[in-house]
């Protein structure tokens, strides 16, 4: 079963807010000068910010804020966030892999930015929605 696609917009302001809330002040997430100096195309989103947005999609699909039992991802490509009002967008889709008798549902998740996968092996186990 395919779950409804969810999209999330990411702007520079979001990265600043996430840096403050999470305590991750790595300058690759707010300084173009620093980011390009280490070979990145420019400021990139915190991998953990992208993971948090995907976590929102998972809890929304689950229909409960506390339904996540297991959640893991691999960060494969950076999400570049341009310094403009539009920023960028990530698109999150998922398939239900299976549902166990113990009341758990496994999801295989796909996350893309500009048509390219930015996470791989993104999987979640949630309590099966009632």
């Amino acid at each position: 079963m395919e779950l409804p696609t969810k999209t999330f917009r990411i702007t520079r302001a979001d990265l600043v807010r996430y840096a403050g809330a999470s305590g991750d002040f790595n300058p690759i997430h707010w300084s173009d000068r620093f980011a390009t100096g280490v070979g990145l195309p420019g400021v990139i989103a915190h991998g953990m910010f992208t993971m948090a947005l995907v976590g929102r999609a998972v809890t929304e699909w689950a229909g409960a804020p506390d339904a996540v039992v297991d959640y893991g991802v691999r960060f494969t490509r950076p999400v570049a966030v341009p310094d403009d009002d539009d920023g960028t967008e990530v698109e999150v889709t998922a398939k239900v892999k299976d549902t166990t008798e113990e009341g758990l549902t496994r999801l295989d998740i796909t996350v893309k930015c500009r048509g390219e996968k930015v996470l791989s092996q993104a999987r979640a186990v949630i309590r099966t929605p009632r």
Partner: protein, 148 residues
């Protein structure tokens, strides 16, 4: 020089207890745009059977990232943090984190490997209550990029 694989299995002393605050959960939820009332309103969380507001699934990174400094700053291992990128991340929950929790992180180095000139370091952080009850196990794979 590749990371020394003899550090696999190394454990670190538990961190000082972290007091999970209601406002910190609200701040984190707001920063990721998570509007579910259970992240913000204690009454909504209680209606779901929790003692106070619930943290979003990736919230524990606030604690575990700080706790991982034990490993990153361990001179015996010698990680060049300027070359570190985040490879993998996983959370396996016993129960959700809620405001009022006092949580302790215990780090273990689970795996070290080298491939294609890069080092891969997998850490497990067992997040428990101060009394030792499990809450969430957190795995991080760090990639230390080679010089080439």
């Amino acid at each position: 020089m590749p990371l020394d694989q003899s550090f696999v299995g190394r454990t670190y002393p538990p961190t000082a207890p972290y007091q999970v605050g209601r406002e910190k959960i609200r701040e984190f939820a707001t920063a990721i745009g998570a509007t579910d009332p259970a992240y913000h309103d204690p009454e909504a969380a209680r209606a779901l059977g929790h003692p106070d507001v619930v943290a979003p699934p990736t919230f524990p990174v606030v604690l575990t990232m700080a706790a991982s400094r034990q490993i990153i700053d361990d001179p015996a291992i010698g990680i060049d943090y300027s070359r570190v990128v985040h490879g993998d991340q996983r959370f396996a929950y016993t129960r959700p984190v809620v405001a009022g929790d006092e949580l302790v992180c215990a780090n273990t180095i689970e795996d070290i490997s080298s491939r294609g000139g890069h080092d891969f370091l997998t850490t497990r952080t067992d997040v428990t209550t101060a009394a030792g009850d499990p809450v969430v196990a957190v795995w991080s794979k760090l990639v230390v990029r080679g010089e080439a």
